[in-house]
């Protein structure tokens, strides 16, 4: 085993901890600014100023603004996934209801930061983003939770066995994402979004139910 692969022991070298501190401050400050001014409306310079670090040190930590957004989205999802991991095993009811609960948790969580979430979707099409950093759509944990729910549904005879689960997952994910357009067109709140999503899941469930 090489020395580099050894787990770090003892105090973290100061340079390393300083870099991590900068990283956390940049992410926290970007989170706040994206949420208030949107992704396009926020510059790296403002993020740096708000975080109290130099523009140069932002760029030694992140390759682009898109990468910062990816990091913001990931870091803020941790508590959401922790909550889902806690709740999902105890859910009762049919497959559709379990999916409904899961997305209700999502909307409750996101409603506090709708602007940020929409930045997230808009930025998926941003030109300055390297493909690897495309933020929206790379949510493997969420897809995994939907898959587990559908597989349980198959075991319980509620979901057809001859259906392509990935296609159902994609349909549910797109229904979830596009429901946010109601925030733009109708200024919908979390309750309204949950209501629409419940019905959409019902329609999709008609499609995956055994005949």
């Amino acid at each position: 085993m090489s020395a580099e692969a050894e787990p770090l022991s003892g105090p973290v070298p100061p340079r390393q901890s300083q870099k991590e501190a900068t990283r956390q401050r940049v992410v926290a400050s970007a989170h706040e600014l994206f949420d208030t001014h949107g992704f396009q409306g926020t510059t790296i310079r403002e993020i740096a100023r708000h975080a109290g670090v130099s523009v140069g040190s932002v760029f030694t930590t992140f390759a682009s603004k898109g990468e910062i957004l990816s990091e913001v989205m990931l870091s803020r999802l941790e508590p959401l996934y922790a909550e889902l991991d806690r709740v999902m095993p105890h859910l009762r009811g049919c497959t559709a209801d379990r999916l409904r609960t899961m997305f209700a948790v999502h909307f409750e969580f996101e409603a506090r930061h709708v602007r940020l979430f929409m930045s997230h979707i808009a930025a998926a099409y941003d030109w300055t983003l390297p493909q690897a950093a495309r933020p929206y759509g790379r949510t493997p944990r969420l897809q995994e939770i939907i898959r587990e729910t559908l597989e349980k549904g198959q075991a319980d005879g509620e979901v057809r066995r001859d259906i392509d689960l990935q296609e159902v997952i994609d349909l549910v994910m797109s229904a979830y994402a596009w429901t946010y357009r109601l925030v733009i067109t109708r200024e919908a709140d979390a309750k309204a979004l949950i209501g629409v999503m419940d019905r959409q899941i019902g329609l999709i469930a008609d499609g995956f139910a055994p005949k």
Partner: protein, 216 residues
């Protein structure tokens, strides 16, 4: 309705050849639109500036502003033109559908085929449509509404033909079909999916979304 003969029209409103000035103005507009279309496709909505667009069209920024109020006006006009052309193509395609599922699939495919050569422009469109400021204007356009209506019309016609049952969720179902049509664009834009791959996926999606409205 009162019948008007061509002759009568000619008498009432003498057809006047457009003035040279009007023709020049029209040409300027077209030149600006072509340049803008190219730059939006190359640099995205945010990346393309009026200054660059003017330079690419070989004119001053003043000349651009004489024809369009701002960049969003320019972008809206391009999207509007495309959506009108696309809606017409989709309508033709749907008319050739053998049943509701086939008609919907043909609508999806007319869209993916249309945008196959302008994926980057579609990408710019999505970026603007999810923007808090750009979104409402783009989504509120009449051509955008006409586009959505196409899906509703297909479902209504299918109910009339007895292919689908009368239901309360028709509006939501057509909205979901429309969203699903849009949601496949990232695969086309970023992952280079072929039209065949998109068609196979779209067919399955349409089946799932129609299942609840099937008769029997």
């Amino acid at each position: 309705m009162k019948h008007i003969s061509p002759n009568q029209v000619a008498v009432d409103t003498p057809t006047r050849a457009p003035t040279r000035r009007a023709l020049a103005k029209q040409q300027t507009r077209l030149k600006v639109l072509a340049a803008a279309r190219r730059l939006f496709s190359e640099q995205g909505y945010e990346g393309a500036t009026i200054r660059d667009i003017a330079a690419a069209a070989g004119m001053s920024t003043g000349a651009v502003f004489a024809n369009f109020t701002d960049k969003s006006d320019l972008f809206r006009e391009i999207m509007h033109d495309d959506m009108e052309a696309l809606t017409a193509a989709m309508r033709d395609a749907a008319a050739r559908g053998r049943n509701v599922e086939d008609a919907l699939l043909k609508i999806f495919m007319a869209g993916y085929t249309f945008y196959k050569t302008r994926l980057q422009l579609a990408r710019a469109g999505f970026s603007v449509s999810w923007d808090k400021d750009g979104g409402p204007t783009l989504r509120g356009m009449s051509s955008s509404a006409a586009f959505q209506d196409l899906f509703t019309e297909q479902l209504t016609a299918a109910v009339d033909r007895g292919e689908l049952s009368q239901e309360s969720e028709a509006k939501l179902r057509s909205q979901m079909l429309f969203d699903t049509y849009l949601s496949n664009f990232p695969q086309a834009i970023f992952e280079g999916w072929s039209l065949d791959a998109l068609q196979a996926r779209a067919r399955d999606q349409i089946r799932i979304l129609l299942a609840g409205a099937r008769r029997g």
